[in-house]
């Protein structure tokens, strides 16, 4: 039987401020099984990072109001956990890889010391043992000369190496769930390929659950088992990765996939989605995507479509699909 690592039902996150309420996440269901990789894809500002922070309970000081019907991590309800218990959870059961390695690492500490901290905090080991673990962890992610690099400061390493160190930190305590928030956006193409291969290999060999957050479809296609496309705080389409690329159903997904430059393409213009995301304080009526949608109807302008599960198990939030599948 498959084990469910993360199970979130109807997650809502709002940020109240002087001018109004920003509804960042509006009712999201997310579940990840052991050994699976789920990708959350969408433009900046669609709420994907807020979702990941909320599932690590890292929104405490931001003034956000987080509500969910269910938030379970390996069977533990994390809504009830105290801050102290949550600290034990983070790192050990759930960990995160951030986008910009240079700002995620402490610039005045050697990477070795930063890795040691994790082992000392979670396993109560001596400094000497921690060092052994750290060098082992660096070796695992393919850092050359781990014993030498152990003493290096973050600025002495290249971008790809720093990202490897972050991955080493995330895998250090053998957590059940790893959240990677745009792990390769700041990297060059050749290094991006290296880091993605590494992440994918580690996830598969350690049989971990991975939540991958990105705006770039080309990153997820070969890694993810399931893809959730987010738009303006709601999931608009959810499908197994291969099927999503073979036949995208939501017009937004079609536009996103079309706008990625492909090697097979002929010279010429790109397919584009016009305009940009709606203002989160002032979202349009009806389907949030209708002002940018080429096939929007009157119904789309007034009513928000539900996230409907089709016969083949795929989920899509669109009136056009709704009508096409009506009996």
């Amino acid at each position: 039987m498959s084990e469910r690592v993360l199970d979130i039902r109807n997650l809502k996150v709002v940020f109240p401020n002087e001018l109004g309420i920003i509804r960042a996440v509006e009712g999201i269901d997310l579940e990840i099984e052991k050994g699976k990789c789920v990708a959350l894809v969408g433009e900046s500002g669609c709420g994907k990072s807020v979702t990941s922070l909320a599932s690590m309970k890292l929104l405490g000081n931001s003034g956000a109001i987080v509500r969910a019907d269910k938030m379970e991590l390996c069977g533990t309800d994390i809504r009830e956990l105290s801050d102290k218990d949550m600290q034990d959870f983070r790192g050990k059961r759930i960990s995160m890889i951030f986008q910009d390695a240079l700002s995620a690492l402490n610039p005045v500490m050697t990477i070795g010391k930063q890795l040691d901290e994790i082992f000392i905090r979670h396993f109560n080991v001596s400094k000497k043992e921690a060092k052994e673990h750290s060098i082992e962890a660096l070796k695992l992610v393919g850092v050359p000369d781990p014993a030498v690099r152990y003493k290096a400061y973050p600025h002495e390493l290249s971008g790809g190496m720093r990202q490897r160190v972050l991955i080493a930190m995330a895998f250090a305590c053998n957590p059940d769930l790893i959240i990677a928030d745009e792990p390769t956006t700041a990297l060059d193409v050749t290094i991006q390929a290296q880091v993605l291969d590494l992440l994918s290999d580690l996830q598969k060999s350690h049989h971990k659950a991975l939540l991958l957050i990105t705006h770039d479809f080309s990153v997820v296609v070969h890694m993810a088992d399931e893809i959730c496309v987010m738009y303006s705080g709601k999931i608009v389409e959810k499908a197994p990765a291969k099927e999503l690329f073979r036949e995208p159903l939501h017009p937004y997904t079609k536009g996103l996939i079309g706008s990625v430059a492909k090697m097979e393409d002929k010279k010429g213009k790109f397919i584009q989605i016009p305009d940009s995301l709606p203002n989160p304080m002032n979202k349009p009526s009806g389907c949030y995507f209708h002002p940018r949608c080429a096939c929007a109807t009157e119904k789309c302008k007034t009513y928000m479509p539900p996230l409907r599960t089709l016969e083949n198990g795929r989920q899509v939030r669109c009136w056009i699909q709704e009508e096409a599948h009506e009996p």
Partner: protein, 325 residues
């Protein structure tokens, strides 16, 4: 069009070195060789792609063609004239024919200027326009990049990344330049916005007949929009010529690796990626022979000692590798 007239920007044997801090007071001065022996011709009206990893000298080369950096050796010709030999006054005149847009519009636009001030600034510096003329030109330019007159007195922070890049494009094009350097214009933006900005750049090129030097590390984008291209590695050009020919028949091992590193979104393709080992070597003491020899999957013993020259393998397709031509 005569041959001479066809070429807008030409560099021959261009080298740019930066001095680095010495180890000791009397030790030999060391140089970081950002660009070495770069000879490239950019034709009028084309989009020229310049590809490579960070630190390979793409931006250094582009800045040298704009006269922002003085070359240590070699020449840069713009429309047949050596830009480093020109008297200051004449060079200032030439400058208005070249412009640049940067990678991150958030930091290249002054946050305390309104959109009008930002876009009109080149007109003010150039002089000779009344305020009403400036306003008319700015509004017309704003409309052609997809913004409106209502945005005239807003600040850059009011706009999204894609809109900020549109403002940067409007500012670069207001003096109607002939040559525009686009230094990774979309890499700081969302993938969905890439298409919008690249389509806009192509539209503007068609409308105004501008020559682009397009710097990027995404080969899929370069393939789609560039007519000719050069691939750089550690300050040197490794492959150069007509982009269709290069993509149809990539010869240099580095080009092959770059092309295979482009992530495909075709689920049926089971392409094998050539993952390069290691990182780019330091440009302070680059390898004597082929600069790619340390990471090259096909390197042989003599690659480390003997330099490779760019050789023409077919018309308008040059490669710097001794084993593939």
């Amino acid at each position: 069009m005569s041959h001479k007239n066809k070429i807008l920007v030409e560099s021959s044997g261009l080298c740019v070195n930066f001095p680095v801090k010495k180890d000791a007071l009397f030790s030999k001065p060391k140089y970081l060789q950002a660009a070495t022996d770069v000879s490239i011709q950019i034709h009028r009206g084309e989009t020229f792609g310049l590809v490579g990893e960070s630190g390979c000298g793409k931006s250094t080369f582009a800045n040298a063609t704009l006269g922002l950096l003085k070359p240590s050796a070699g020449k840069v010709l713009f429309d047949g004239q050596d830009i480093n030999e020109l008297p200051t006054q004449q060079f200032r005149e030439m400058r208005k024919r070249m412009q640049k847009i940067f990678q991150d519009p958030g930091s290249s636009l002054n946050p305390r200027f309104t959109v009008f001030e930002l876009i009109a600034e080149p007109l003010v510096i150039r002089g000779g326009y009344t305020l009403s003329q400036q306003k008319e030109m700015v509004v017309r330019m704003l409309e052609s990049v997809g913004l409106s007159e209502a945005d005239l007195y807003r600040y850059p922070s009011d706009f999204s990344g894609g809109q900020q890049q549109r403002i940067a494009i409007a500012r670069a094009l207001i003096l109607r330049p002939e040559y525009l350097v686009c230094d990774e214009p979309v890499s700081a933006l969302d993938v969905s916005v890439h298409a919008q900005i690249l389509n806009l750049l192509m539209d503007m090129q068609k409308k105004m007949g501008i020559t682009y030097l397009f710097i990027s590390h995404n080969l899929a984008v370069v393939k789609k929009i560039c007519d000719r291209m050069a691939i750089m590695y550690l300050g040197k050009v490794v492959e150069y010529g007509d982009s269709e020919k290069i993509f149809a028949n990539p010869l240099h091992p580095y080009t092959k690796a770059l092309i295979s590193a482009v992530l495909s979104i075709d689920v049926n393709s089971d392409q094998k990626r050539i993952t390069l080992k290691g990182d780019v070597s330091s440009p302070i003491n680059p390898p004597v022979g082929c600069r790619f020899c340390k990471r090259c999957p096909a390197a042989r013993a003599d690659c480390e000692t003997e330099e490779c020259k760019l050789t023409e393998v077919e018309p308008d397709h040059f490669v710097a590798c001794r084993f593939c031509c």
